[in-house]
Symmetry: C2
Subunit: 187 residues, 2 copies
Amino acid sequence: MKKNIGPVNALYPMPVVLVGAMVDGRANFITIAHVGIFTLETISLGVNRSHYTNRGIRENRTFSVNFPSDGMVVETDYAGLASGKQTDKSSVFEVEFGPLKTAPMIKNAPVSMECGLLDVLDYGNHDVFVGRAVNTYADESVLKNGVIDLAAVRPMLFDMFQRKYWRLGGPFADCWSVGKNYAGGKK
Amino acid sequence: MKKNIGPVNALYPMPVVLVGAMVDGRANFITIAHVGIFTLETISLGVNRSHYTNRGIRENRTFSVNFPSDGMVVETDYAGLASGKQTDKSSVFEVEFGPLKTAPMIKNAPVSMECGLLDVLDYGNHDVFVGRAVNTYADESVLKNGVIDLAAVRPMLFDMFQRKYWRLGGPFADCWSVGKNYAGGKK
């Protein structure tokens, strides 16, 4: 028996990312999990307009999306607690740049996307940045046959309900495959 | 050492959902994981325009977002393989309705959001449906102190790299808290 718990957004867990941008000539990073996928290539980042990073993304029309492993949880959570207005977050992470030049990436994140901005959508007090990767960088240790292996990435997942970070469990079925075993009947 | 693997969208894993809509007077469901969060309340669904469900969402301006548990993997994957154009997917799931009347929900999904449509964004060959919950329903068995407990939901997570469904692991740190332990230094 289901209970009406009100107009709750239940779309969790979501992957935790560190978004990088240049603000006032300095690399800045913000931790968010209100992210999304529009098309196979196009992603979205929902960022409260009060954040320092937003201006850098608008000005340079570039940003990075870095995927921290669970071993980076203290620094990642810290980047969500401290504002770039007061704190130089380029001192928290080793930074590197790709050909876009203005999308600072976190060297020790196992995977980083170097992105170009397509659109900025206006939703309430949030900017929704829409973009896509120009280059994606993955540590050799997280590649299996040239493809990203999430078991090796050890991503952090965000749960707004209990305000916890979760680890990923294991794979248990093949997509576009296991459904072929459906034999009729109602679930 | 990171390797450039090209312009890969690396924003995985993402939660797998079954989106429900009424099409030609019949409940239809589609499996997607290209979802997102814009603001605390606002969510997005990226759906290829070729899908049957899109017309129902546009016409009624309502939809549901149902979260299958891992035990529903066969039916959930099947709903992604079979098109509503050929298959009556209302026969795959027990359906129920809330006050919106035109947002069919899956009775046996542990959590369902009954949503109103705010916007339809045009991205390439995809409709991006933007909406928010009017009511959210959760099975008593997945509520802990009135809040959704992901360990009980047992959500399915989607990995485009290896084309696998994954289980959620365990919680390992508190958000907006563990970062207070940051003692300086670079990661």
